[in-house]
């Protein structure tokens, strides 16, 4: 994956839950109107609905544009949740 000149990389913790929401928001708010966001779920093992809601917020911030949002290294155990949340278009294959 080529680096984007205006890219924000967010590495989610093992437990991506409500408590990490403010930090997550702080990180993605660093981007602007053309920023490309990359969310790395490589270490994440748990997602609650607050986290999925925040991911939907991130989709809105990226203008629902798969070119501006990529979710990578998602564990297979979380794929069902991500699919239900409508995030499948943003999942990047390794």
């Amino acid at each position: 994956m080529l680096d984007h000149p205006d890219q924000v990389l967010i590495r989610a913790p093992e437990q991506f839950r409500f408590a990490w929401g403010s930090e997550f928001r702080r990180q993605y708010q660093a981007g602007g109107a053309t920023t490309r966001y990359v969310l790395d779920l490589g270490e994440t093992r748990e997602l609650d609905t607050a986290a999925l809601g925040m991911l939907r917020q991130l989709v809105e911030r990226a203008g629902s544009d798969p070119r501006r949002l990529a979710i990578r290294n998602a564990p297979s155990a979380l794929l069902d949740l991500l699919e239900i949340a409508g995030l499948q278009p943003y999942l990047s294959r390794p």
């Binding site: 409500f18 929401g21 609905t49 607050a50 999925l52 809601g53 939907r56 239900i84």
Partner: protein
């Protein structure tokens, strides 16, 4: 009875010779006929007397005339008449036996045919019932059909998916609220800092007013006007401090309510979907199993159809094979006609006008057999019963 009769014949050489000659002549006629072989076999198997009695039980030496040329015992003509009568009676007995065999075969085969038809009907009913059950389980219109249940499960799983999406969407809205309130809390904190600044200004103003009052008092009467102004400034400062206190109190109250709102948003937004997803996975698993079961039942239905077709074919073969009864019955009728001819021959040979004409035996036998067979059915030559090979009478 026939064996006893043959024994009697073999014990009287002269009559025996006549009788053997007549029997051989008639048997030769029969063996030369289409039914001869069958009759010989039937007679040998059923009565067992034609070859064994006539041809085996009487030695050739016993058939020669007496040395002195004189007849021994009764005359040949009278003996022949008596034996002919007895043979005729025995043939009638044999015909009666053949008729009973015919009746038994006809009755047995009839029962067998009806049983086969009933079995076929029952199997068809069983197959229809089984097929109905399988169809109801798979694609029937019943509300409990397997495919209906699979559809219901799929619909339920879809509803769970929709519900999960709704929960996630609600969580997003709650997070929107949470972050908005979080921003509001930050602004409230900023307002608190502003109030602190106003408070500091009011405090400094009060000090300033106090100093001004002191300075006004030190100049005496000339400072009275300034004293009034200093007092008013101090009053305004106190009023300002009171307003700041009110704002701070409101700010604290607002911050408390903001925290409550944030907590409500957090509780509403943060839900564990694992139980919901577990239920959905279980439904998917059940649906998969029911789909497999549906496929297996469909396979069994194909087996049922195949077995049904095979049963139908085998039943048809069995029913067709029962036509041997018809053939056998006609063959027996033919044998009966032969026996009747033999009986008639012997009876007519025993008549007084015939007893002296043994030389006419062959001619008479041919005549009677021709008469009897004139009305007899065609004897089928069929030896097997396969499809398309049934010989009609």
């Amino acid at each position: 009875m026939i064996r006893k009769l043959i024994a009697r014949v073999s014990g009287n050489p002269r009559p025996a010779r006549s009788c053997v000659l007549a029997g051989v002549a008639v048997a030769a006629l029969l063996l030369g006929s289409p039914a001869g072989a069958w009759l010989a076999a039937a007679a040998a198997a059923g009565a067992g007397w034609l070859g064994a009695g006539w041809l085996g039980a009487t030695p050739a030496a016993d058939l020669s005339p007496a040395a002195d040329g004189e007849p021994r015992g009764p005359t040949p003509e009278s003996d022949f008449a008596a034996w002919s009568l007895q043979f005729s009676q025995e043939f009638d007995t044999s015909r009666s036996s053949v008729a009973r065999v015919n009746d038994l075969v006809q009755s047995g085969v009839g029962d067998l045919g009806r049983s086969l038809s009933e079995i076929h009907r029952l199997i068809q009913g069983q197959q229809a019932a089984l097929q109905g059950v399988l169809e109801n389980l798979t694609a029937g219109s019943s509300e409990v059909s397997l495919r209906t249940l699979i559809g219901d499960i799929a619909m339920t799983a879809g509803a769970l998916n929709g519900f999960a999406r709704l929960v996630i969407e609600v969580s997003k809205l709650n997070m929107d609220v949470y972050f908005e309130v979080e921003d509001m809390a930050a602004e409230l904190a900023q307002i608190g800092k502003f109030v602190d600044g106003v408070d500091w200004v009011a405090k400094q103003t009060t000090l300033l007013a106090l100093n001004a009052s002191i300075e006004a008092a030190s100049v005496g009467v000339a400072g009275r006007g300034f004293q009034v102004v200093a007092n008013e400034i101090r009053t305004l400062a106190q009023r300002s401090r009171q307003i700041s206190a009110d704002i701070r109190a409101s700010n604290v109250s607002l911050q408390s309510r903001v925290r409550q709102t944030q907590e409500a948003a957090r509780q509403s937004a943060s839900q564990d979907l694992s139980a919901l997803l577990g239920s959905k996975s279980e439904l998917d698993r059940i649906r998969q199993k029911m789909g497999d079961l549906d496929a297996r039942i469909a396979g069994r239905m194909a087996d049922v159809h195949e077995i049904s077709a095979a049963i139908g074919a085998r039943t048809s073969v069995a029913v067709r094979s029962l036509q041997f009864e018809d053939i056998s019955r006609q063959i027996v009728g033919y044998v009966d006609a032969d026996l009747r001819a033999l009986s008639s021959t012997l009876t007519r040979l025993g008549e007084p006008s015939r007893t002296s004409g043994l030389e006419n035996l062959e001619t008479l036998s041919r005549q009677i057999l021709a008469e009897e067979r004139a009305g007899a059915p065609h004897l089928p030559g069929q030896t097997e019963l396969t499809a398309g090979t049934i010989e009609l009478f």
